[in-house]
Structure formats: C-alpha cells, structure tokens
C-alpha cells in the first residue's frame, strides 16, 4: 500500500507543480497585459489635455518665430514643462528634467512623468518636435497593483483547487489498479501462509533418522524450499502491512533470538555446506521481537545467499550490538550506500526481489538501530547492528 500511495502522491505533487507553474506564467502574462491596457487607458485619457498644452506652446513659438526672435522669451507654465527639438533630434530649447526623449513614441510614460510629442505643421524656430512633460501621480498604478494582487490570488487559488480535483480524476484509474494489485498480493500471500506452514510443520514431525538417505535428502530440499517461501511471505507481509503492525516492545535476549534464527536457517546453510559459528556475550535489545526476527532473518538469509559453497558465517553478540559476517562475494564500496534501497540487488544471479535490506533499514529506523557495513570484495561482508544503551 505504501509503494502505491507514495508514487501517487509524487505524481500528484509533480503534476500540481507543473500546473501551478503554467498557471503562474498565464497569470503573469495576463497581469502584464492588464497593466499595459490600464496604462494605455490612462495615457489616452490625458491626451486631449496634452494636445491643448502643445497647442499653447506652438502658438507661442509661432509668435516668437514671426518676430524673427526679437521676442525670445520661451513660454513657461506651472502645470507642465516643455521642450523643442529639430528634425535631427537636436535640442533647441528645453525646460525638461531629462534629455532622454523617446521620439519613436508620441505618447508614453517614463518614471513618474508622462511625455507627449507633437509635430507642428510648420517648424516655428526650427522646432519639428514639441515635447510636453506632465507629472503622473500614479494613482492608477496603485489601483492596478491592488487588482492584480486580489484577482491574481483568487485566480491562483481557483486554478489550484481545480487542478487538484482534475489530478484526482486523472489518477483514479491508476489508484484503482494499485489497490486491486495490492489486494491481490495480500490475498495471495495470505493464502500461501497456510500450505507453507502445513508443509513445515509436517516436515518437523518426520523422523529423518528412520528414512532412507535419498528420501531424507529430498525431504531436506523440500524443507529448504518451504522455508524460503515462508521467508518471502514474511517479508511481503511486513512490507505491505508494516504500518498497521503494532509494535510490542519487550526486552529481547538477542543470544536466544539469534540462536533460534540460526537454527531455522541451518538446513539452508547446510545445503551450501556453510559453517555457522556463534560467539555470545550478554546482549539485550528493547524492541518488537517479530520485527527484530525479520531483521535478523534477512541478514542471515543474505549471508547464506551471497556466500560461497563451503564458506563460513560468523555471528557475534556484544553489549548493545551484534554482527553477522559471511565469507562471500563482498559489496563494492560504491554500492554500499544504495543496497538499502528498495529493489536493489547486489547480484541478479541470486534469487529475491531486493527488498530484504530495505526491510532491515526500515526496522532499524523504527527502533533507532545503526547498521555498519564492512566488506572486502571476494573476502567477506560484515553487517554490524548497534544501538544505544
């Protein structure tokens, strides 16, 4: 269940992220267009007044021109400023604060001023361009910013909610498939438990001493296969149900637990002629017994799986920890970090799904255990599990 919900959540977050990003771009474009529109509306609303002012200046220029500049006093007004430029954009006279005039636009806003450029029919005093400058109080801009903030936020919220429901709709078929698959795995594993337990229980009741050696060997193989299926069943159950499994914390005697699990895997180890040695010191851990058994089983299972035929497994307990060391293929340093990831397998030639060490890490995290890997290629791998007192 965890796998499917996580991937669904990730897909949901990714889609929503992209959706919101695109929405923001649309919002930015819409805001910019709205700003441009409002600015143009403001500028054109000022146009008649600006034209009137330009006319006043031109009228005065005409008088100056007709006097052949005997009258050379340039008109000054309290409400606006003006300047005159010739056909080559050379300044003839200016009362403006700036000399940077954009002659490509006849009406524009720059800084906190509005500029209007008028071309008289005749160039009095050589003035082809009469520039009028009026201050802009920017009250319209405050209103535009407020509207963008309010309506932009509302639009964003609306689009986010809409996006969330759309994503839910799109992901529903995928989620249904996940749930179906999940239930199928759950049911299948549950149905596996009874026959496997029956096989194991019955094998244990058979006295192999009285059997023909060939039959005993075949029975041993059946035992190994059944135990392997049982381990897989327990792993899958843990993986699917670990969130719902309550932890019963108890003070576990790790020597007793490890001895029990070693005994459980003895048949499997014997099949590869692996010798297991167990060195004991007092060792106790406060945790859930079933879950710690899962952790130990996976470490022992790997130690057997990746060991060579006729190899050894050393198990040692000490105060606040234990280690399991095999004489197998070893783990390359670059792979040591990633082997705890789900579906990561060291060697594809060996069986399994690559979930064992992931389960080990999950259990270790739950109970605050540290796991250290010491390994040398084709020599050994030592998995040391330690915990705080």
């Amino acid at each position: 269940m965890d796998i499917n919900l996580t991937s669904e959540r990730k897909s949901l977050i990714k889609f929503l992220g992209l959706y919101i990003f695109l929405t923001l771009i649309i919002l930015a474009l819409a805001s910019f267009m709205y700003y441009k529109f409002e600015k143009d509306v403001m500028l054109y609303s000022r146009l008649p007044k600006l034209q009137e002012r330009a006319k006043e200046v031109i009228h005065r220029l005409k008088a100056m021109h007709e006097s052949l500049l005997e009258d050379n006093f340039y008109p000054r007004y309290s409400t606006f400023k003006s300047a005159i430029y010739d056909a080559d954009y050379v300044k003839i006279f200016s009362l403006l604060d700036t000399d940077e005039i954009n002659f490509n636009d006849f009406l524009y806003k720059k800084g906190k001023h509005i500029f209007f450029i008028k071309e008289p029919e005749l160039y009095y005093l050589g003035a082809k361009y009469v520039v009028i400058e009026v201050p802009d109080d920017e009250a319209w801009l405050v209103r535009v910013h407020q509207n963008i903030a309010i309506f932009g936020s509302l639009f964003l919220i609306f689009m986010a909610v809409l996006g969330y429901f759309l994503v839910k709709q799109f992901l529903r078929p995928m989620k249904d498939s996940f749930i179906l698959l999940n239930n199928f795995i759950k049911d299948t594993t549950h149905e596996l438990n009874t026959p496997v337990s029956t096989i194991l229980a019955n094998i244990e009741t058979i006295d192999t001493e009285k059997l023909d050696p060939k039959v005993a060997k075949k029975l041993s193989r059946i035992d190994i296969a059944a135990r392997t299926i049982s381990t897989i069943y327990k792993d899958l159950t843990y993986l699917l149900m670990h969130e719902k499994l309550p932890s019963h914390i108890e003070n576990i005697d790790m020597n007793e637990l490890l001895a029990q699990r070693i005994q459980y895997f003895k048949t499997l180890a014997d099949s590869k002629r692996i010798k297991m040695s167990f060195s004991q010191s007092p060792c106790f851990l406060k945790a859930d017994r079933q879950k710690i058994a899962r952790l130990v089983d996976n470490l022992l299972s790997n130690a057997i799986k990746y060991n060579k035929v006729g190899g050894t497994i050393k198990i040692k307990t000490f105060q606040n920890g234990f280690y399991i060391e095999d004489s197998g293929i070893g783990i390359p340093p670059e792979k040591q970090k990633e082997i705890f990831e789900r579906y990561k397998r060291l060697a594809s030639s060996e069986g399994g799904f690559g979930i064992g060490l992931h389960i080990v890490m999950m259990i270790a995290k739950e109970f605050g255990l540290s796991i250290k890997i010491d390994s040398r290629i084709n020599q050994y791998t030592r998995m040391t599990v330690t915990w705080q007192k």
Binding site: H65, L69, D86, V90, F93, G126, K128
Partner: protein, 103 residues
C-alpha cells in the same frame, strides 16, 4: 570729396571682413533682400541645421522657381563655387541660428 572718403572708408572696413559679409550681406543689402527673414523661412520648412544648409545650397546652385519658399522672389544663380558657398552658409547659420538665443 566727401563721397570719395566714404567709399574709401567702406572699402577699408570690408577689407578684413569674411566672405559672407563681403559678398552676401553686401549684395542682399543692395537688393533690399534682408537675410534674417530668409533664414527664418528656411527654418520654418527645413528645421535642422543639416536640412537648412542642404536646401540653401541646392537653391543657390540650382535655383528652381518651383522650389522657391517665397514665390515673389526671383531665382538667382550664385556664381560661387560649392566650397565658398558652404563657408558662407556656415557663417550665415552661426549668425542667425536659434539655439542659444532663446531665454
């Protein structure tokens, strides 16, 4: 006698004058065609220094009644070479230009 003295004084005053004063002013004064209104007429239609000088040069070297700013004036072909004319026009522009004279 007095007339001779006056002509002598005039000749002496023109001796150190530039080409514009020597030729243009003198001739235009004699023909009662003041230069300042002509300058302002050109300014009214051509605006910039470059455009005004180009138009003046064109009209002085290749006068065309169709292009005359003031129709009642008669086209007059000047006999100065282009270099001399340009020099005279530069002085003309500097004398009557608007830039720097508005207050």
């Amino acid at each position: 006698m007095a007339k001779i003295v006056l002509q002598l004084l005039l000749a002496l005053s023109l001796f150190g004058a530039d080409i514009f004063t020597q030729k243009c002013v003198r001739c235009h004064t004699r023909r009662h065609l003041p230069l300042k209104p002509i300058f302002f007429d050109y300014l009214l239609y051509y605006s910039s220094e470059r455009a005004v000088k180009e138009a003046m040069l064109r009209n002085l070297t290749h006068p065309d009644p169709k292009r005359m700013l003031v129709k009642k004036r008669k086209p007059y072909k000047h006999r100065f070479d282009a270099k001399t004319l340009r020099k005279a026009l530069d002085i003309y522009w500097e004398k009557y230009k608007v830039i720097g004279k508005i207050r």
